[in-house]
Amino acid sequence: MHRSRVMLLCSALLAGVTIAAPAAPATADEFNGCNSVSGCLPDNFDHTYCWGSSFTASDLRSAANYGMGNLDSQTSYFDTFIGTCGSVTDLIWHTMSSSTTRGDYLCLAKNSANECEQARVRLNPTLLTNTLNREKTACHEIGHSGGLAHSDTASDCMVNGAVTSGHRTYNDHHRAHLNNRS
């Protein structure tokens, strides 16, 4: 077979069988453990949290308290502040230093069911310069800790990036996911 035809066939074969493979990470709102999106289902509805040693700024703590309280009031989760971080604390809050990333979520430990037992959440004071965006990002990262993924179109806090109004709560779609854990 002519080389160019071989290449064309190879491209077609590879394209035909491979497009489906990387599609999984784009599927938002899948649940069941740490799936191919960004969040991880936590082990239960009790979301304990604490301040890590770097999380000292009062405006960041206020945003985190807002986000935890919002989770408590909007969903079946309940938040419990723990004065001293330990191995069984669900969320450990820290400050991040970055010129480009507003905040992040990292599952630190998974259990045998592929659920997240403990996670770190960070907020970046350099980029989160007002209360609205601090609270929005706190809500956003807590959403990941409930298993939510990013949303391209949502009107709630799971949308990526800075906002100028609203976006400090979960919409009904995301509340249903959080409450159903599925």
Partner: protein, 199 residues
């Protein structure tokens, strides 16, 4: 698992890329997406095209005093094929050492096993700012004297995959896109596959 086409060659093994991407489940960053590669390049110290040589254990960051596990990281040793923008951390050294989170404390050996080492990667990089007051092994993951870097945002780490390009820590895919569409000289970044929302 993807089938191989007999007689075909390709730059990335599909299974490896998919498995590698899944290892970053459990990590998410929030950032302001940029459309133009040159904008991301201007936010970065260096932009390179290369390939992953190895993945090694990186520094561990205890989250509280006495934390037995900490936040583990891995370090990708990336062989630089071309510098597309900026200056390498060590201009005389043709590798960069890219620190990434290891969700769930997954061992570096697992990342190394699944790393798509034949795939081309494009990296927009800044000096690593991971850290805090506590770190147990700050020099891990690279030769003595070499500095750690990290992707500028999740947009700054893309990997060639069969049928497109993937953004491992951004959890996005770009079907049918070519890796060269992600270099700083490209006009705009390709559009990712839309997220699938069910009712």
């Amino acid at each position: 698992m993807l089938a191989s086409a007999p007689g075909c060659t390709r730059g990335a093994d599909a299974g490896d890329v998919a498995a590698f991407v899944r290892l970053f489940d459990g990590y998410s960053a929030e950032y302001d997406n940029v459309d133009e590669p040159i904008r991301l390049a201007r936010m970065s110290a260096v932009v390179v095209r290369g390939s992953i040589d190895a993945v090694r254990p990186g520094p561990v960051y205890p989250q509280f005093p006495g934390d037995p596990q900490g936040a583990r990281s891995v370090v990708l040793a990336v062989r630089v094929r071309a510098v597309l923008h900026g200056t390498l951390p060590d201009p005389g050294h043709r590798s960069v050492y890219v620190q990434l989170p290891a969700p769930g404390g997954t061992a570096a050996e697992v990342f190394d096993r699944h790393a798509p080492k034949e795939a081309t990667v494009v990296l927009y990089l800044v000096p690593s700012r991971e850290g805090g007051a506590l770190v147990t092994n700050p020099d891990a993951g690279r030769p003595a004297g070499q500095r750690l870097v990290e992707p500028t945002t999740p947009q700054g780490f893309v990997v060639e995959a069969p049928g497109g390009v993937v953004e491992p820590t951004g959890h996005r895919t770009f079907p049918a896109a070519a890796i060269d569409a992600f270099v700083p000289s490209a006009a705009v970044f390709p559009s990712p596959a839309p997220a699938e929302h069910h009712p």
